[in-house]
């Protein structure tokens, strides 16, 4: 479903990724972990074409992403949703308008159909009744959930989560976790970038650990604790950055 091969990325003179390769099967959830500044979000951004790799290949659902122009990305971006760390909500639009935006752009739905879809999704994420609020009137946890809700509007096959639980209280973290698991059950493929190890352990099938621009560990979550010498275990236990 998702395949990254020999991914290399530099910013100016700074080499962020030397050679990163991993794959995610359909319906799987992969946890991308590593210290701050190792470039986890850069990989997510590259998957959806917000960054271009210097070299290497990115393939999603048989589409060679790295070769696409901005215009050619449009159909891919309807299938692959990105949940931004800070929500990236349009602050001049209400909650309803934020959610209606992708629907009005890509689908020919009536106002009633849009209203129903938005109400159902908001209800599912515990945000009902906030349709006319501005994002600034919501709490941090609600904004994160709204970011997820907006990403779900186009029924994506793949979801890329960038730190979806960062800075959240246990209640909101649990809500997001539950929703990721629910989507996984529906067959949605996902990549989760996080520092929140309990969430990663709860939702991911596989974990990839990035260090110094390369993948140093790639293990199934269920086998994690039977590999005590793996680099990722040192990261989880706080022995390395």
């Amino acid at each position: 479903m998702i395949n990254i091969k020999n991914f290399r990325k530099t910013f100016g003179s700074k080499l962020v990724h030397k050679d990163v390769s991993f794959y995610v099967r359909e319906g799987e959830c992969l946890g991308l972990v590593g210290g701050s500044g190792v470039g986890k979000s850069v990989i997510l951004r590259s998957l959806i074409g917000l960054e271009k790799p210097d070299s290497g290949e990115i393939e999603i659902d048989g589409i060679q992403v790295h070769n696409l122009t901005e215009e050619e990305m449009v159909p891919l971006r309807q299938k692959v949703a990105y949940v931004f760390q800070g929500g990236a909500l349009f602050d001049s639009m209400t909650v309803f308008e934020n959610m209606a935006y992708p629907l009005r752009e890509h689908f020919k739905l009536s106002d009633d159909e849009i209203q129903k879809k938005i109400t159902d999704t908001l209800d599912e994420l515990g945000l009902a009744g906030n349709e006319q609020n501005l994002p600034s009137q919501l709490s941090g946890g609600m904004q994160k959930r709204l970011g997820l809700a907006r990403a779900l509007m186009m029924n994506p096959k793949v979801i890329l989560y960038d730190e979806p639980t960062a800075g959240l209280d246990p209640y909101n973290t649990k809500k997001i976790q539950d929703h990721i698991l629910k989507l996984k059950k529906k067959g949605v493929t996902s990549i989760l970038v996080t520092h929140d190890m309990p969430t990663a352990l709860a939702v991911c099938d596989k974990m990839v650990y990035l260090l110094n621009g390369v993948v140093t560990s790639s293990v199934l979550t269920k086998d994690l604790y039977s590999n005590p010498n793996a680099e990722i275990m040192k990261f989880i236990e706080g022995d390395v950055a």
């Binding site: 959806i48 971006r77 990105y82 931004f84 909500l89 992708p102 752009e105």
Partner: protein, 260 residues
């Protein structure tokens, strides 16, 4: 010495980067305006923000310009017995130069700064990335409505500025220079022809582009941090002002050639 050369090189590089960026952005604007849909709601909102909400500022600027010009011309020409030429001079100067240029400079300061800071903030908070990630184009959603709105609003604002500026001139002409108000009005009407008006309005379309395209470019060029948003805003206003003032000479010259 080497620091000086390096500094000059950086400035030259930045200038080429700006020129390339502007050409690239202009190309995308043209391409997406021709092919894509127009966001009428966003366009209307921007016309209100740029046009209607700028009206008080434009009226104050035009009124004081007309009044000051009338007073200065009157005081200067009185010495040579040329006070009667004040209406003619004020009207033509306002219609051809002061109306369009001063209005454009005011809009560059108010609207250009607003565009650059708003887009810059959207970039920092990843809203521009979100527009792209949702399969849409920031050029279509953010840039084109602002460019089109300014192309519509600025000529209308200049038309108002021309009227108000001349009214200010007439008031000072009558009240301070003791010229007959009817005489002043008649002189303006008989002196000014359609070309004078067109010459000023023609420039405003270029000025609208000089304001919005650099503002959008600098806003979209912000990478991170509120400091960069501030820098982008300053650069947008400075660059728009320079383009308006320098461009005005060449546009005046062009219209002068066309009129001959």
């Amino acid at each position: 010495m080497s620091t000086y050369i390096l500094g000059q090189w950086k400035k030259t590089y930045a200038l080429f980067l700006f020129a390339g960026g502007i050409v690239n952005l202009s190309g995308q604007i043209i391409k997406e305006t021709v092919r894509g849909k127009i966001y009428w709601k966003l366009l209307t909102e921007q016309i209100v923000i740029m046009g209607w909400k700028s009206l008080p500022l434009v009226i104050i600027t035009a009124l004081s310009t007309g009044m000051v010009m009338s007073l200065q011309y009157g005081l200067g020409l009185e010495k040579f017995g040329g006070k009667l030429y004040v209406p003619k001079l004020v009207a033509i100067t306002i219609l051809r130069e002061m109306g369009p240029v001063f209005t454009a400079l005011m809009i560059a300061a108010r609207v250009g700064a607003g565009i650059a800071s708003e887009i810059g903030s959207m970039t920092v908070t990843q809203q521009i990335d979100a527009i792209r990630a949702l399969g849409t184009s920031p050029i279509k959603v953010i840039v084109i409505p602002r460019v089109l709105a300014c192309l519509i609003a600025l000529p209308l604002l200049v038309a108002v500025a021309n009227l108000v500026g001349n009214a200010g001139g007439l008031y000072v002409g009558a009240a301070e220079l003791k010229l007959d108000a009817h005489f002043y009005y008649q002189k303006v009407v008989t002196t000014v022809d359609f070309n004078d008006y067109l010459s000023g309005i023609f420039k405003t379309y270029f000025f609208a582009l000089f304001i919005t395209i650099p503002a959008c470019y600098y806003g979209l060029s912000v990478k991170s941090g509120t400091k960069e948003v501030g820098q982008a805003t300053t650069r947008a206003v400075v660059m728009s002002s320079i383009l308006i003032l320098v461009g005005d000479y060449f546009l005046s010259k062009l219209f002068w050639v066309l009129e001959r």
